[in-house]
Symmetry: D3
Subunit: 244 residues, 6 copies
């Protein structure tokens, strides 16, 4: 991004700058892994629970499972959202996000090395300012890593079934310019919004790009993927530091 | 309670001692009132939202409404609880608690002085260690007070419709002894569990006593109510300090 | 209540007078216990069913269970209420009441002496005029006792697992005066409404007091509990006569 | 049926005999029409409520509506049935029956003469011994007639919108013999079960015949319809006597 | 029908004429039986699936089960109907129809000769022009017969458990005249609508007649049943030809 | 793909070959647009309905709306899937797909030029063999175009609000080779599955790539996007021919 001053972002960040990212481990007491992850003002509590059961379709097959659920506190957002528990069902958006988190984490875990257990991830948004799904994936990885350590300490596992890191970031075309890690203001105004999930080795797990306004070109896409690679490399480094 | 050493509580507290109580205002950014209340390891995020609408049965009557919803993050507890949004309905316990919070707060607000608005309280338990409903009421009052101030600052109201404080505490018979502010260990073992809601003026709004084991006597009840009066007086003082 | 003429009740009853209470056993044919209980114009059909199963969490533990459900016919009330089966869910109020009935009855039964069976109570309000939950508890006890007798007659049990009676009544502050067993008119106008559940031995199982209007004092509470003790003693006597 | 002794019915009734039918008006206090109808041991409480509203598709068209709901108390039957409100939905059987009741009653009412009101019928089975839907229709007609009188007394209507009586009975082939008004024992064993709804004028409103075992012939059908005509004529006479 | 020219039907058909009926087997690839049945413009896709399981109440009893589900594509009709899956429940009408299809097919199958398997029928209306339930039954029989052949070819069964054909047609009184196989225009205008289900042997399985307008007489009923017998005989012949 | 013989696809297609695509317009009678689209053995019925209403959030704003729903007949698949209407909710997968269809079509329509109307698309899978969502989008465009013509013919619109074509195809890495338009066998075995939606002008509307097995590289992504561009160009040409 050669000239961020030409088209400054609302936050004043450079086009290729992440927001301040914080990863607080052991945030609550009961979960085997518990992480508060912040991407700027977006705060998500990610817990990892070790459950001594697997879904019906896996019973007796000697392997484990990993799944995720996602929620948002009603007033995590600018205007209050309806409480999904009161409404009696999860929105399509919620289900889409929790399916994405589960797939992303399953891409880096060897389920056959987990035993007949489920690693249950819960990502609950305390405060939202854009990027809640990417923060969720990034934080859930650290919570999962802590739950794995908890099992190793108790001799439930001899080594980690996690084969690599996984982290995620959003990129988008805002005002014709590709930018990294959109906040809510940018997210509302962007032409293209893309969520990218990658491993520590720099390979892609998911790419979900959507033209909100004008459709995007191959050139746009290349620029966005380049930004994402750079941002995720930095997030993986922050995960490593948090877990050190 | 003159002799706490005879029957020490698991926490080492005196029979008439509250846990450490903290009331953090402005905990999240978007809500008009946002309070993290802690009773020891129990932590509840209470937000108050000002909504420009009232339920159907109040439309056009020139008065306001106050209502509350309650939830618990799946891993707020020792073992993971099912997510109510995924399950598709709120449990009877959840509904009972949110109805109690709403009634308690409505007891101290003059709805006719609120305008055609709803004060929506959301109490979400981040971490549970007993007493989540009493912490919710105590914290929700402060969130509501902040939302009222927000309206006054914007000239939406000229004076506060809150006529008094309201706070709540649990008391119970544990091992034959009346104790104040039960934590989870005591709550699981008690013979009687009583939740008491009172105003700043020292009057009762709700008394809900349940014999979990042996039924209780008038004498037990008097001892419990005495403890509750004392504990709630202290909680109201802490609310005042937090709002000062 | 020394001077009921000063503040006469709408029904003309003395402040400490119950409505006419009737307990009709064997009201319907199929249930193991079937009781129509009337508190004045409030009529509730209470049936007790003996089921050869226990909930999942008790399987194989050699003990029984007791649970209750509550419903109201749509036109039991002055204006027709929505049918909960058509609406697709039970209201918070319904769930609150059926949980209360279950807890109250479980307080006087030795579940380990019941065998792996469930005593299922169903309380259905045929006509409502205030006090449906207290009439339900009082009638459900008699239905449960009949179902126990039915099991003893068939040598399924050698002795009754019921350790005591349980009955319930409402009390409240109406126009500044404590009164016993509120009917609908009083219930709608009262400042405080309290439901009290007690055993035959005169101990408390549940006390649920709510300030509908002005909060209540310790003195009010003492007066109300005194009235309730007296009313419940009379109800237990009527249960004994019905079962004689 | 010239020779009932050849193939006696479990109840000892002649093949063309109804069970004892009772129609008790003003059974409960609040509803505009309230009838307990008994066909032997089958007892259904039928209430008719006058509602000052019509469904959306009729608003502003100056005509009324009539609709019905049906339910069964959980222990109306030999073994306890699940409570539909707790289960969260009405069964297909329940919906089928309440649709039948509504259609049957609408066949004899002039909705354009009812004003913009709904006549809401609720049929709740207190005790079941076969024939609950036919008892419901027969009793609901009387409840509706009482609700119409209530409106006429209050000058809400000047004359009755009911154009005729409507009543219903079951007939069936049991052990090769056509019989009238099946009780539960016969209903469980019959080869063909037919519910017939007719007007006071002797015309058909509904005929629903189902072969539970062997399919039936035109001859069977003629015999069954003959029995039904005779039974319904008697039921209409009993309705007239009850309303006299 | 002596004089169809006096009161011509909208379609120009004679009173006793079926619409053009087509039965296309092997319409889709995956199902064990798959039939597109057309009654004029009404088109229903009927599939029969062989499932290696039975409902809980039949487990271990060595017999099979047959059940049916019914649906309508949202735009099968003149105006778009709500999608039941999106709405979250099946309408009463849908449940009524799928129960009817299941009962009709069970009337001609020997479930004890099916093994512990379920024959699952799915009838989905692609285009509706009246008579969707009768077309469904008629087509579902052919799909079931194909699924039975599929099982015989694989030595899962040695002979067919189907004891007879079953087919269905609607008849009705339109403008005072009995007519066969009503299309949508006639169905909307008729006084009486009757659905008749019969076996290949000419016996009745179901008769469901409803007076939509004026009640009908025994004479009407006889005329309608006569038309239905004739129409169903023709449909059974078409089934035989399709299966030949 | 220069050397398809090295790694032949199960279907024998070249790596860059679409399956046989058919677009049948006017497939059913009632809908304003009705298209059966086939991608090989995958068959989807796409209807477009013109509704004279808009969702609440758009009322009175003088613009239209476009939305989509998606469903699959229970036996469209190899093994029967549960009917979502019977189960009482749409799966996460279903919601994800219908949201994708809606977004894709909205990308090429000028809603402000549609008037206060909703274009409701329904995509129902009759037979599934992989690629149901991409076939749905491709067919839904043609159905929408027909519905627009229907409106223009009736002078409801003077010109089309459709600004461009939109079509979709899947691409994936199968056995290390990038291939176009995966069928079910390939879809089950692929390492990466990517759905691409593009406009007639060759710009991207959605890109959704998921690593089912090993994560994918930038090089893989480039190859896949190249195949998709080529396939979609062909699909747009087929849409033009169908609409000619």
């Amino acid at each position: 991004m050669d000239n961020a001053t030409v088209s400054p972002r609302p936050s004043g960040r450079a086009a290729d700058a992440l927001r301040e990212v914080r990863i607080q481990r052991h945030y609550t007491r009961h979960a085997e892994g518990s992480v508060l992850v912040s991407f700027g003002d977006t705060q998500v509590l990610c817990t990892a629970s070790v459950l001594d059961k697997v879904p019906g379709f896996l019973k007796g097959r000697g392997q484990g499972w990993l799944t995720a659920e996602y929620g948002m506190l009603p007033r995590a957002t600018h205007t209050r959202g309806e409480r999904e528990a009161a409404r009696g069902k999860q929105s399509g958006r919620t289900q889409e996000i929790q399916r994405l988190i589960g797939r992303s984490l399953r891409a880096v875990i060897d389920l056959s090395a987990l035993g007949e257990r489920t690693l249950q991830l819960d990502c609950d948004v305390i405060q939202a300012d854009g990027g809640t799904r990417t923060a969720s994936i990034t934080g859930a990885y650290v919570a999962a890593a802590d739950a794995v350590r908890w099992m190793i300490e108790r001799d439930m596992l001899s080594e980690s079934p996690l084969r690599d890191h996984v982290a995620a970031v959003s990129v988008g075309m805002v005002g014709g310019q590709p930018v990294l890690d959109l906040d809510y203001v940018e997210d509302s105004a962007c032409d293209t919004d893309m969520n990218v999930v990658m491993t520590g080795a720099g390979h892609f797990v998911e790419v979900q790009g959507t033209a909100e306004g004008v459709p995007f070109t191959r050139g746009d896409m290349n620029a966005l993927l380049g930004l994402a690679e750079q941002g995720i490399a930095r997030l993986v480094q922050l995960q490593r530091e948090a877990l050190a």
